[in-house]
């Protein structure tokens, strides 16, 4: 400790770090090892920015077969201590996604663990389309229909994906 260090200047210099942050190193690994199911695709507006991207899910079975749903991902500087922020950009008639695009998926909030990866979230979201869960509703009306009348729910989903009204809410067409 006693060996003298060269005196630093007191004037602040704009910081340039030569090393990527721990969050950055971790997301690089997550992305490089992303194995997307054939129903999913990603879009990176800026390939140098791995923290901001979109996930596109086109389910090939279930209620939402034939639809195309876009999710935005924002990975923060505290990743993986905190989960990424995920929003659904496509308006969808779904028990676990509200009309503002909020998604009720346990691993995105209360059950997030740092060992989980972007891949875990991709599979979680894909699963939401295969098995919508009326027990944890975010769109309560859709959840009630699913619980009481599966046929009607199915019809409503098809109707909204083609572009149409449920009640007085209009859903944009989102077929592939």
């Amino acid at each position: 400790m006693k060996n003298q260090k060269k005196d630093g200047t007191d004037a602040p210099k704009q910081g340039t770090q030569k090393r990527a942050s721990a969050a950055q190193l971790r997301i690089t690994k997550d992305i490089n090892e992303l194995t997307l199911p054939k129903t999913c695709d990603t879009e990176f507006p800026d390939p140098d920015d791995l923290l901001t991207f979109k996930l596109i899910i086109c389910p090939d079975e279930g209620f939402y077969r034939g639809g195309r749903f876009v999710f935005s991902f924002k990975v923060g500087p505290n990743y993986p201590h905190e989960p990424p922020k995920v929003k659904c950009e496509t308006m969808v008639y779904h028990p676990n996604i509200d009309l503002e695009g909020n998604v009720c998926l346990n691993i995105l909030r209360e059950d997030w663990k740092p060992v989980l990866t972007i891949n875990s979230i991709v599979y979680g979201l894909q699963y939401l389309f295969l098995e919508p869960n009326p027990e944890d509703p975010l769109n309560k009306e859709a959840a009630e229909v699913l619980q009481n009348n599966r046929r009607l729910f199915e019809q409503n989903v098809v109707k909204t994906m083609k572009g149409g009204y449920i009640g007085n809410v209009y859903f944009d067409r989102c077929l592939k």
């Binding site: 400790m1 060269k6 007191d10 910081g15 340039t16 770090q17 390939p47 509200d98």
Partner: protein
């Protein structure tokens, strides 16, 4: 009051006499105090609850070249414990007021202040300190300074150069609980090694917030997460400012209404602000204890008058007093500190594909699908990633570019992710001529 000449009498007793707990390298001498006062350059990060205590403690111990960074301004609610601030200082920079107070009060001490974020400064700035002491309330900031100090380490033939190690003393408090620790970057457990020790952020299930609230907090979170972006009460794109009474009031009133609908009691203005700002209650005495422990460690590290704490101290005085000190172990596969950047030789005329082939084919690495990014002028640049398809396509042209064309230079770091390693691995580029 001691006469001026006797001012450092107590510190001298520690520095000019041998003792059973001194570091093996310690030689009692009057020079040590001189060195402490004239040479030691210490950075204090944070001028809040812990920071005020730290600056006072360090200044009174004899450190004179103190530097303090804080990006925050003084708020009325700080004044009960952040004793370097007065009512007239509200709205001023914490770092500035704290520095001026100490400079005025402790003769001979010179505190330099920076009303900045830690991220505003680079390697040259941080390299100029002998010691960094943190009194922070943010995990992101801790991780950042940890990463910065690790990136300053120099290795000679894979051996760490001791004089590139800048010790980090970190304190943290939460109500009646606190901890203090000593991190010797590259040598002992770092912040990232023990990231799991930080309490996870409380997040309620979204569906509970939306449809089955049971707690006053659920009602506040409902307004914060779901209503605010929908109703945009203060023009669209206005983010919630936890210090703006208008914002808090709006949230408070809406939350109260929702609580009434569900027969929930307990939504108050204070609770609303607490939930929105994620306020953790601060207790002045805990800050004093933790800061004292940190300042003592700083003194030990600077003078060798005692072996430093090894390396993690927990404190809890919720019920009686409990303390425990133990050695937090270095995580073998820590993403931040386990890696000694290996040198990777290449020529400026090599293509990126050649580098990837080397990583895949050399017996030393045998990687499967390495993905590479680099830091160029402080910005990350993706060089090549194997997946997903959309990004691979965009980056594929880079494979045919040369190292020079990609802007890579000698000494830069490459981050390489591959399935053969649990973490992204760092390489330091060595340009062969």
């Amino acid at each position: 009051m001691l006469p001026w000449g006797e001012r450092w009498g107590e510190v001298r007793k520690l520095l000019e006499r041998p003792g059973p707990f001194t570091h093996p390298d310690f030689e009692p001498s009057p020079d040590t105090l001189k060195m402490l006062q004239e040479n030691m350059k210490v950075l204090v990060i944070g001028a809040g609850g812990l920071g005020c205590e730290l600056l006072k403690d360090l200044a009174l111990m004899g450190f004179t070249k103190l530097h303090v960074i804080d990006m925050d301004t003084i708020d009325l609610s700080n004044l009960n414990r952040q004793f370097l601030f007065r009512k007239k200082d509200i709205g001023e920079s914490k770092a500035k007021v704290a520095a001026e107070f100490v400079n005025h009060r402790v003769k001979g001490c010179h505190v330099t202040y920076y009303y900045n974020k830690i991220q505003d400064f680079g390697e040259d700035f941080y390299r100029s300190f002998h010691l960094v002491v943190c009194g922070l309330d943010s995990i992101v900031a801790r991780r950042w300074i940890n990463g910065m100090l690790l990136s300053l380490l120099c290795y000679e033939d894979g051996m760490l150069e001791q004089n590139s190690v800048i010790p980090l003393v970190d304190g943290g408090t939460e109500g009646f609980k606190g901890n203090a620790r000593v991190v010797l970057p590259g040598l002992t457990a770092c912040i990232e090694c023990t990231l799991d020790l930080f309490p996870p952020q409380v997040n309620f299930p979204l569906c509970t917030i939306a449809h089955t609230p049971r707690l006053p907090e659920h009602c506040i979170e409902y307004v914060r997460i779901l209503l605010w972006p929908k109703e945009n009460p203060f023009s669209s794109e206005t983010a919630i400012d936890g210090d703006d009474p208008q914002h808090i009031n709006w949230i408070f009133e809406k939350a109260q209404k929702r609580a009434a609908e569900y027969g929930i009691s307990g939504v108050t203005y204070r609770l609303t602000q607490g939930v929105v700002k994620r306020i953790i209650p601060a207790v002045a005495s805990t800050n004093a204890v933790i800061a004292a422990a940190c300042a003592t460690e700083a003194f030990k590290l600077a003078t060798s008058a005692c072996t430093p704490m090894n390396n993690y101290f927990v404190f809890n005085d919720t019920d009686g007093i409990y303390t425990y000190t133990y050695e937090q172990e270095k995580k073998e596969d820590c993403v931040a500190c386990s890696q000694v950047p290996q040198e990777l030789e290449m020529k400026l005329s090599d293509k990126l594909q050649d580098v990837i082939t080397t990583l895949a084919e050399s017996l030393q690495y045998q990687m499967k699908k390495p993905g590479l990014t680099a830091m160029i002028a402080g910005k990350t640049k993706s060089l090549y990633l194997h997946s997903p398809a959309s990004i691979e396509e965009k980056l594929r042209p880079n494979l045919k570019k040369t190292i020079e064309e990609l802007g890579l230079q000698d000494g830069m770091e490459l981050a390489v992710a591959d399935v053969t390693s649990p973490n992204t691995v760092l390489f330091r580029i060595k340009i062969k001529t």
